[in-house]
């Protein structure tokens, strides 16, 4: 497991954001992308890339340390990406390029 956070993931966080500090903030209705991420996590586990239990342990560990400023509901996305990067399943360059393309697609007219 890597010991440093990935820049591409840190950049995703809004500079003004802070992780939730109280239970009321954790009572959060999932956004659609969160539900989609959950399905991705299940598929990664089912098809053998990243086991659900390993991922959940990583979410706890990394969520409390490297990515402690991230809201809890973003942990699955950030930590799953981190794990895939650590295992060299994807590279930072690939992820950056794809995020640029997706962002452009979501904002183009």
């Amino acid at each position: 497991m890597g010991s440093t956070p990935y820049r591409i993931l840190l950049d995703a966080l809004d500079p003004g954001a802070r992780a939730e500090t109280g239970l009321p903030e954790l009572d959060h209705t999932p956004d659609p992308w969160e539900s989609s991420m959950q399905a991705t996590c299940e598929c990664l586990s089912w098809r053998g890339t990243l086991d659900n239990l390993d991922r959940r342990h990583a979410e706890d560990a990394l969520g409390e340390t490297l990515y402690h400023d991230f809201p809890v509901h973003t942990r699955s996305a950030v930590v799953t990406a981190h794990e895939l990067l650590d295992r060299a399943v994807i590279t930072e360059e690939e992820l950056r390029a794809r995020m640029d393309a997706v962002r452009a697609r979501l904002t183009r007219q």
């Binding site: 956004d31 969160e34 539900s35 991420m37 598929c43 089912w46 950030v78 895939l84 992820l95």
Partner: protein, 228 residues
Amino acid sequence: MTQTHDHDHDAHGAIQSSSGVNEFEVLEQAVRELAIEKGLFSAEDHRRFSEWAESIGPSGGSKLVAKAWVDPEFNARLLADGTEACKEVAIDWLDPTGVGTPSDYTYFYVLENTPTVHNVIVCTLCSCYPRPVLGMSPDWYRTPHYRRRLVRWPREVLAEFGLHFGPDVEVRVHDSNQKSRFMVMPMRPDGTEGWTEEQLAAIVTRDTMIGVAQPKADWTATSSPSAG
């Protein structure tokens, strides 16, 4: 103009994106696309998981389709007057049932798929959805991602759900911007000869009635795709 009221729209009827796209939404999609391209799982795997996780409520619609498949006269009644035909499966659009509300209106039309026409539904303005027959709308249906892009790049969006058509099939998008509510009647798949209405209804899943999937004899969305 307030952004929070469902039926307030700006003068151009456009979906206003916020000042920036949500970076986590971008991250999620990027990871999913890379994973699919690298063969870690398929788009259909993902779609099925999402569908299973949210499997509440499309049983009314499924019954309508199954009944239409086995009974040509019901098929004709359903296509001629959807609202009235719903009563034959105990759905009354005028009676809020817990998923139907006054905002669902009472003009319900079933869109029949054929070998040359594939229908798919969207509401660009506010995510209207035929809740009395399909239950609550899926999360993705409500996203600007789907609503803005299905009308503009429908084949790309369908491909993200694992659905592809050649140039001989008309992809017909229905944007339910007024009082009508729509449901797609998918084509009956091979391998279902002699099935009962119940068996047929089980394979008419929510996504097939939105138009982002086609029924298969082996998929009922009632258990996880990885369960056997």
